[in-house]
Subunit: 407 residues, 2 copies
Amino acid sequence: MKTIKGGITAAKGFKAAGYGAEIKYKNRKDMAMIYSERLCSTAGVFTSNVVKAAPVVWDKNITRNKGVAQAVVVNSGIANACTGTQGAEVCQKTADAVGKIFNIPSDTVLIGSTGVIGMQMPMDRVEKGVEALSGMLSDTVEAGTQAAEAIMTTDTYSKEIALEFEIDGKVCHMGAMAKGSGMIHPNMCTMLCFVTSDVAISHEMLQKALSEVVVDTYNMISVDGDMSTNDSLMILANGMAGNTAITSEGEDYNKFYEALNTLCTEMAKKHAADGEGATALFECHVVNADTKENARVLAKSVICSSLTKAAIYGHDANFGRILCALGYSGVEFDPDKVILNLVSEAGSVNVYKEGTPMEFDEEEATKILSQKCVTAYVDMQAGDQEATAWGCDLTYDYVKINADYRS
Amino acid sequence: MKTIKGGITAAKGFKAAGYGAEIKYKNRKDMAMIYSERLCSTAGVFTSNVVKAAPVVWDKNITRNKGVAQAVVVNSGIANACTGTQGAEVCQKTADAVGKIFNIPSDTVLIGSTGVIGMQMPMDRVEKGVEALSGMLSDTVEAGTQAAEAIMTTDTYSKEIALEFEIDGKVCHMGAMAKGSGMIHPNMCTMLCFVTSDVAISHEMLQKALSEVVVDTYNMISVDGDMSTNDSLMILANGMAGNTAITSEGEDYNKFYEALNTLCTEMAKKHAADGEGATALFECHVVNADTKENARVLAKSVICSSLTKAAIYGHDANFGRILCALGYSGVEFDPDKVILNLVSEAGSVNVYKEGTPMEFDEEEATKILSQKCVTAYVDMQAGDQEATAWGCDLTYDYVKINADYRS
């Protein structure tokens, strides 16, 4: 498996485009389209927020009940959440418009929205956008990037990745674009991620792989603890790589799973590192926990702690806050067994061991904590299970962005 | 019942003092003592963090197992948490020093610590502090205030209250001092609260009243979602009001309960309003929920949302974030039934009703959101249960305080 240049257009048969439809923003791209030459197997995982955006309801039905899709339309600026029946109608009308242009059923058109909650969509501009996008579709790397740029909100960079790997003697591809910087605490958020692949795979196996991969990737990141109404991760696989279709577990499935897991891990880290206002990626790696689930809960509790995140921003080895966050995670453990190290590319320092604070060089610790990626390495000495969670530091800019965002 | 001037010295027989022992801070008071002429019934509620500070372990044993106490020693600067056996020895030695001076058993001496986690206490300075404090004790209002000032960390003002009420024909008093501004998310934090009363009441009834009152008062506030290793709320009642001792439920117990509930509600709001960096008290009042517990969970989810808190700081009626926080609270409900109003002393505006965003005057909304106390009034239309939670806005200063706090 290797990383190649590109994103959603890396897989055979996928085209994309980005366009400025003035949904809410001016002078930038705010609508994207993905189109596959062939009908795709599809699968999706979505927010578990009780308040679900209209597109989430729309996509869930398609990815879970129908299992096939051929096009995706995404807008930024307005989330189409808390918009009642009018919001649902927007999804239907958008899909109808796409279906009419490509002569495909409306229910093979997936829809994504991200932006302000509680604002109605300007349907006339959406329809104009769909028309413009359909005439701009291209399979170039650049077209994929334009689509990825169009779906950004407070993101500081567009998020793309592409992988090449082999299944069944055939060269296969998998690409993704995603957005999401605030309101990031997915439990399958205004986290949107679209994955394309030319692998031949059944809907059932696609959904199985996606549902399993998300647990240790997207569900292990948090920027601010706010789980969005719009979180969606969807995958489309059109089979154009020519492999024998994957319809059960086995070697081919495992290779596909490994590619999807690598892709989702790398994309998840991009969200965390680009968290609103963030200056550093903050990772918590928990090892030797009693159960896998406890390892996950402990790791996530640390990267979600506001006080710890502020300390990371201050490059301050205030390790007591990390122990405190482990302690309120809900997991039962013996604090007198825990070993805590702070690690980055600048080195490693042991700050706490088995109930007692360790003496350490503050200057060295500050240097370790001043890197772009900082890891809290927590040894629970209670078993053999491990998990990693990814977050970011808490900065002035997070507050600034979110005190001003809607206006 | 009426509010009177004062704090912990308002109840008969209680003396207090504050002193600068240089535990960690210089040029300020950092140790406090409370002493009752008579042995008191005592009760306490403590952090549910797995990582418990040494004083929490010490106090829990006394308040739960022994039920009587006569003195309290509190320091700020160092939390005596994550300090292993050395930390436990500090508690024993401190209590021994107090016991020797007053000729009382060490296990009638309660201990409170707040400050940096993972740092050892300077025992020599603690002992000097105990000696100095014991010579300074006084029953004046000023002495109570000095004690309250000594326990502050990042608090911007000291937190005191005193109530006068009648039980059994006798004039009774209840007073409190507390501290806590960050790491505030009590589930029974570095929230410390000490309540004194001259009511005669058994340990059992005292613990019952405290455990019940805390659920809808202290457990309904959050500054930053970080539950401390040190949260402690303890009460001492010495019986010097002369009422017939309360040993069962009934009219007298109800009067005591009401006073304690009023005291804890007002003190809890003081913590939230003085949250680190806060410019406003942010309250969420949920009405017509299906169950009391769901009302609590919904209200608390809203006041804990970083995005909502940043919007309150920006005086921005970004009500979608409130709906979003209700939605990820874990409570099942129908978003199409919810009515949301934003309320303050400047007025009230309906922003969302039964699935649909409402049109409202943005200028008016900004005015409402620019007051010192802002309420999100949420009608679930699902039952007849209600609850209120208290938090604060998220500001640049929160980040500043916590990026720098330890150093």
